[in-house]
């Protein structure tokens, strides 16, 4: 049959469209076959990173000789990961926040690592218990812990000396005394805050869990299935932390002043004596040591009301998605990256590089307890008495850290309590009403997700 007129043109356009579609399909198939080829490891969320990442990645790459490693730059992005899963090409290995592991595990997106651990003979005892528990869901391990962050209180000695406040007054075990000290340390005049006495950091994601735990409250059950955000002790903790902010000019004034700090610069709040004390992640020692090594600081552990040291831990982990086409290589990579010898190698190289550059070196903080102890012992050279004391307290705090158990709705759980704290600080709700609402939201999300 010979086509003429418009039918001929329609046929030509249809044929061209089919050709384009076929070409697109072929290109797509080729791209897919490249990533699915045996001997390729596609990693998401890690990138080349800093020297510590690069040095360990070099060791892991060597251990996987013959395997092509695709390790594009960029942190883990849920949107990107979901898109990869939706397209049927999940990465072979992901590097992400430990808090997220439980949620993905509950949704069946990650595979349990029990076989990986067994076949590669990974010594799980070397990892910090809290870190490993954080990536354990329904009794199965879904992640290999990497970095490990804890919170301690950094005190500005110049500020407390000027205000005639003793270090013992900043003990979080004694709430009335801490309140008095906060009042003495803060500088508020004419409604403007010019110095924060003690920042409870209640608005940070770690703040409320830390204060609640210090007051004897547990925010979620160990199985991650029952939220307990509105217990009497949790409400009490929030009330107290918010009262500290109210003492210092109120939330608007307090936060506006805090937002004006040069947090990562040489003119930071300790260098400028703009803060008395506040709990902060241990990475901040490295920031202070490099930007303002002259600051006179003292580090205190965060204590429970009965005087026991606590700290909330957080960090990153390696996980293998379901559908990983090279789970074996992924497992090897995770094992090597977190091995004691790899951490030691990276730490030694960093210490040497910093020494050569006459720069300050603070020890790495990893999820591997054995590595941490060796790094501290073998690579750390004293900086000055202020930082040395801080580094020591951090090492101790690591022994007493707690974690938020993996939950099928970790993100909703965290959003529920962070939003609740925000509503209280903004004066929209009382602590009790806010936490009641948060409890309802968190439990409803968990029920839907489990």
């Amino acid at each position: 049959m010979i086509l003429t007129g418009p039918w001929k043109r329609i046929a030509v356009v249809a044929a061209l469209a089919a050709l384009v579609a076929a070409l697109a399909g072929t290109i797509n198939a080729r791209a897919g076959s490249k990533s699915s080829k045996a001997g390729t490891l596609n990693i998401m969320g890690f990138g080349t990173g800093d020297d510590v990442a690069q040095n360990r990645a070099a060791i892991a790459t060597k251990a996987l000789a013959g395997t092509t490693i695709h390790n594009p730059n960029g942190a883990f992005n849920d949107q990107q990961f979901l898109a990869a899963v939706a397209s049927g090409s999940p990465p072979d290995l992901v590097y992400l926040d430990r808090q997220k592991v439980g949620t993905y595990a509950a949704k069946g997106a990650f595979q349990p690592l029990n076989t990986c651990i067994k076949s590669q003979k990974i010594n799980t005892k070397q990892y910090r218990k809290a870190a490993l528990s954080e990536v354990t869901y329904k009794g199965k391990i879904y992640g290999i812990p990497e970095f490990y962050s804890v919170r301690t209180i950094i005190v500005d000695l110049d500020v407390i000396n000027e205000a005639k406040v003793k270090l013992a007054d900043l003990n979080t075990a004694n709430w009335p005394k801490l309140k008095q000290a906060t009042k003495k340390l803060a500088k508020v005049s004419g409604g403007k805050v010019t110095r924060i006495g003690f920042d409870p950091k209640i608005d940070a994601s770690f703040g409320f869990p830390l204060w609640a735990k210090a007051n004897g409250a547990t925010l979620i059950t160990k199985d991650g299935l029952h939220a307990k955000l509105n217990s009497k002790r949790a409400i009490q903790a929030l009330e107290y932390a918010v009262s500290l902010i109210k003492l210092q000019g109120g939330w608007n004034e307090f936060k506006s002043f805090r937002d004006s700090w040069d947090f990562f610069g040489a003119g930071n709040e300790y260098a400028k004596n703009q803060a008395g004390a506040f709990p902060i992640e241990d990475f901040y020692f490295a920031v202070l040591a490099r930007t303002s090594p002259q600051v006179k600081i003292h580090t205190l552990p965060f204590n429970t009301r009965d005087g026991k040291v606590i700290s909330m831990e957080s960090g990153s982990a390696w996980a293998i998605p379901k559908g990983s086409k090279n789970a074996k290589a992924a497992c090897t990579w995770a094992k090597v990256m977190t091995a004691t010898s790899s951490w030691m190698d990276a730490a030694r190289k960093r210490a040497a590089a910093r020494k050569a550059a006459h720069d300050v070196y603070t020890p790495l903080s990893t999820g591997n307890a054995v590595a941490d102890a060796r790094i501290y012992k073998q690579t750390y050279s004293p900086i000055n008495k202020y930082f040395d004391q801080g580094v020591k307290v951090v090492q101790q705090a690591k022994q007493h850290s707690f974690y938020i158990p993996a939950s099928p709705a970790s993100a909703e759980f965290q959003t529920a309590y962070v939003d609740a704290v925000g509503r209280v600080l903004a004066g929209q709700q009382s602590p009790k009403a806010a936490l009641n609402q948060a409890q309802k939201e968190a439990q409803s999300a968990i029920n839907k997700a489990k």
């Binding site: 899963v85 993905y104 608005d203 937002d259 004006s260 959003t415």
Partner: protein
């Protein structure tokens, strides 16, 4: 401006006739050429816009999360929307923001365009560039800039207000001042509208002003009775576009208030800055509720469509198109 004449109802062909004409046009080579030129846009529209839109409509009736099995949930997502106080809060926030943002941008843009229309060509070019430059600033940067400029303690805005003995509010922390602050910040990028208004102002025939002046009209009268009607199509166009954009506000607000690390380590955003697209994003990519997020997207689409239809219906009475018999 227009003379009334006797009008007869124009002939309106039936849909069947129109369809025949449409198909018949394909006998002509020009139609194929026209479609060939249109094809990149048509391809983009069908594959990248209408396809995902239809998919999201279907997903809005499911509990789709990509990583878990999907179930049909009927109208449950829409029922949840109705009962979700955060959705109501987000809609209230965006309505407030839009009500201030749209007239604010239009007034400032028109004022600047009128000033530009008075300056010479050389200077006009320089100022056009200056006014347009902020449009090129990434919205993420604008979000961060907002926190610096509007800081209640050290921000430039409050420092400027202090010079005239006004104690500025806490724009970034006080729930009552967050949205007004965002509106003021949005006036930073009025360049596009300034250019549109300037073009419209320059196309107003001079003789209309001369005639009005001869009739004794003052400057306000000339502006109100000559300028405004003559540039009303441009005003209407920007009114619609600004409203649609305002209802979809996301980047700068998300960066300023919902991005952990930017606002001093806080990980939560204030209720006052929760806009529908921010809540949609949280639900989709924070909590993996893509079905629910799709329902939010369609609710927002419905709101935008309804607002636009009302705007078109109401505006018909006020828009003057040259050549129209009105």
């Amino acid at each position: 401006l227009a003379t009334a004449t006797t009008t007869t109802r124009p002939y309106a062909p039936s849909p069947l006739v129109r369809a025949r004409r449409w198909f018949g046009a394909f006998r002509r080579r020009e139609t194929w050429v026209a479609y060939a030129f249109l094809s990149p846009w048509l391809f983009g529209f069908i594959v990248l816009t209408s396809g995902p839109m239809i998919a999201s409509l279907v997903l809005s009736f499911t509990d789709y999360s990509i990583i878990s099995p999907t179930h049909n949930v009927g109208l449950q997502n829409y029922r949840d929307l109705y009962n979700d106080p955060k959705v109501a809060n987000a809609l209230r926030n965006v309505a407030f923001y839009t009500a201030l943002h749209v007239p604010g941008v239009m007034l400032v843009s028109l004022g600047l365009a009128m000033l530009l229309a008075r300056v010479g060509r050389k200077l006009g070019g320089i100022f056009r560039t200056i006014f347009y430059l902020p449009v090129m600033t990434p919205k993420v940067a604008v979000g961060v800039l907002f926190l610096f400029l509007f800081n209640g303690t050290t921000g430039l805005i409050n420092r400027a207000l202090a010079l005239i003995h006004i104690s500025g509010p806490y724009w970034t922390t006080d729930p009552h001042w967050i949205k007004p602050g965002l509106v003021i910040m949005s006036l930073w990028a009025v360049g596009t509208n300034v250019i549109i208004y300037l073009a419209a102002l320059q196309s107003v025939p001079k003789h209309l002003y001369e005639a009005a002046a001869m009739d004794g009209a003052g400057s306000f009268r000339r502006f109100w009775d000559v300028t405004v009607p003559m540039i009303s199509p441009a005003l209407f166009f920007t009114f619609i576009v600004l409203t649609i954009n305002a209802l979809q506000t996301f980047d700068e607000v998300y960066t300023a208030f919902y991005n952990e690390g930017v606002a001093g380590g806080s990980s939560g955003g204030p209720d006052a800055a929760r806009f529908p697209v921010i809540y949609l994003f949280q639900q989709a990519f924070g909590f993996f509720h893509l079905g629910y997020a799709s329902a939010i997207a369609w609710m927002l689409f419905g709101v935008i469509a309804a607002v636009t239809v009302v705007q078109i219906l109401v505006s018909r009475r006020f828009i003057y198109y040259e050549g129209n018999k009105r």
